[in-house]
């Protein structure tokens, strides 16, 4: 779910189009938009506090095999939430799990890992060593 949440609906759709489509589904709840209150911790590790809200889409589906899939995805893309819920439902079935893992999750995870590595490389390129003058009067 973490991988599906970080991908875009278009990326998921493109990968699903190249594999055997997961079973059809009916919507049990949503897709709908709401909010999640994001919490931080005072001082970074202390008592929690409410930082502010973020938009989130959620969807619950039941597929033709009777599996229930849930998705909560940052943002307002309802299609994204429904796709993720569909994949979530299908992946609870062992027969589907490995196929979708290979066709959808693994390539998305690899792309996300690649993007993370690229960002880390950029940040590392701005690594800095400052030198302060020991004592300006000496």
């Amino acid at each position: 779910m973490a991988v599906l949440a970080r991908a875009s609906a278009a990326e998921i759709e493109a990968l699903l189009a190249e594999t055997k489509p997961p079973p059809g589904h009916i919507r049990l709840r949503g897709p709908e938009i709401g909010l999640v209150m994001v919490r931080g911790r005072s001082g970074g590790a202390g008592a929690p506090f409410n930082l502010g809200e973020m938009t989130v889409s959620r969807c619950t589906v039941r597929n033709e095999e009777g599996r229930i899939g849930h998705a909560y995805i940052a943002g307002r893309d309802l299609r994204h939430a429904e796709l993720a819920a569909t994949v979530d439902a299908a992946m609870q079935d062992d027969a589907w799990h490995d196929a979708l893992e290979r066709a959808v999750i693994a390539p998305l995870a690899a792309a996300q890992e690649h993007a993370r590595a690229a960002l880390a490389r950029k940040a590392a390129g701005t690594r800095v060593q400052f030198f302060t003058m020991a004592n300006m009067r000496s």
């Binding site: 909010l35 938009t55 590595a117 960002l119 590392a124 701005t126």
Partner: protein, 374 residues
């Protein structure tokens, strides 16, 4: 006297709004700006609107910026209004800034802090000269020089968890800890603020507070109005994962990432009868890349802890009620700007009062002269 409702003026209001739409569009011979362009190219505006609108959604914030013609307080207002139309599904697990994917991380107190310092995409060290090349479309601009290739070791170090500087100082016991508490925090969007507000509510108010107001208050503490001798222990900017635990699932779920800025301000503390001298801290955390805001927030957070730490509380920044009652720019703009609405009835009554007082004063003066003459 309470505000008295007015009615009428519909036609004039419609015409005014039609003109506003035209003004917003500007010269129709120029291409219309898209919200995607705003989100991509005016990211700092979008970040500020998300922070002060207290709603993380770059697309919506970009729309608000476009609709408000770049008026960021109006845009934050639009975002706040929109958020009230949505149900709240859940509260997240507290975000873990230790696990942030770091874009920028600096410390003013340690040269060689573990994990290193990364400047990231900063305006620091620029010369603040207008870049006239930006007046041209970027196709006319030469590619920027390629970034220095980091060593493989530096790159792999970036992939590890980078501990907050407070955790490093804590090893020596020279800095106050964060304390341990998992009590559910108060929420000022659900319950009205009561004073003195606890730190969880103060941090929530500061995180959505006006950057300019907090900047000025933070500045005032540096100039002696509640001095706290601050050092930037650490500033970090980057992406953190947001996790929720929906009740119907019963296990935590990653729903995506958000960009946040965190500031650890380290401050002197003389100590008290029960506490040895040590460093204390102020904390800043806000949505987006908003370093100035996070720093100002950390200064004001520390200043508001004066009473808790047994310090004299004399300056505006240390006054919890003063800060929290005035840091919200949506509330402030509402009350200030309502003054321009028709106040005819209030004013008439004031006018009556002034006239009566003057009549009485004139009668008294006349009476006094007569008495003196008699």
């Amino acid at each position: 006297m309470a505000y008295v409702a007015v009615k009428g003026g519909e036609q004039a209001i419609d015409a005014a709004h039609a003109w506003l739409t035209e003004e917003r569009r500007g010269d129709p011979r120029l291409p219309e700006i898209t919200t995607a362009q705003i989100a991509e190219q005016l990211g700092r505006s979008v970040d500020r609107v998300m922070a002060e609108g207290s709603c993380y959604d770059p697309g919506l914030a970009a729309l608000a910026v476009k609709q408000a013609q770049g008026d960021l307080i109006e845009a934050a207002f639009l975002l706040r209004a929109f958020r009230t139309t949505l149900p709240r599904f859940a509260a997240s697990q507290p975000i873990d800034t230790d696990a942030m994917q770091i874009r920028r991380r600096i410390s003013a107190i340690y040269k060689d802090l573990p994990g290193g310092q990364m400047l990231g995409p900063t305006y620091d060290y620029t010369h603040r000269l207008l870049d006239f090349q930006l007046m041209e479309m970027s196709s006319a601009i030469a590619d920027p020089p390629p970034a220095t290739e980091p060593s493989p070791a530096a790159e792999s170090a970036m992939r590890e968890r980078i501990k907050r500087v407070s955790a490093i100082l804590a090893h020596e016991g020279l800095i106050e800890g964060d304390g341990v508490s998992d009590d559910p925090p108060g929420d000022l969007t659900r319950e009205p603020l009561a004073f003195p507000a606890a730190r969880d509510l103060r941090l929530q108010a500061l995180a959505r507070g006006d950057e300019g107001f907090l900047l000025a208050l933070g500045y005032s503490t540096q100039r002696g109005w509640g001095g706290t001798h601050p050092f930037v222990g650490e500033i970090r900017v980057g992406e953190v994962t947001v996790e929720i635990e929906p009740p119907e699932l019963g296990f935590p779920l990653e729903i995506g990432e958000i960009t946040v800025t965190e500031c650890q301000m380290v401050n002197q503390f003389k100590g008290s009868k029960s506490v040895p001298p040590q460093f204390t801290r102020g904390y800043g955390l806000c949505f987006g890349y908003s370093e100035r805001k996070a720093m100002a927030m950390a200064l004001v957070d520390r200043a508001m802890r004066a009473e808790e730490l047994g310090e004299e509380s004399i300056a505006p920044a240390q006054n919890i009620e003063f800060v929290l009652s005035h840091c919200d720019n949506i509330e402030a703009t509402g009350f200030v700007e309502h003054l321009k609405l028709p106040h005819y009835v209030d004013f008439q009554s004031e006018l009556e009062t002034i006239r009566r007082l003057r009549r009485e004063a004139a009668a008294f003066a006349l009476h006094g002269r007569r008495e003196a003459a008699e």
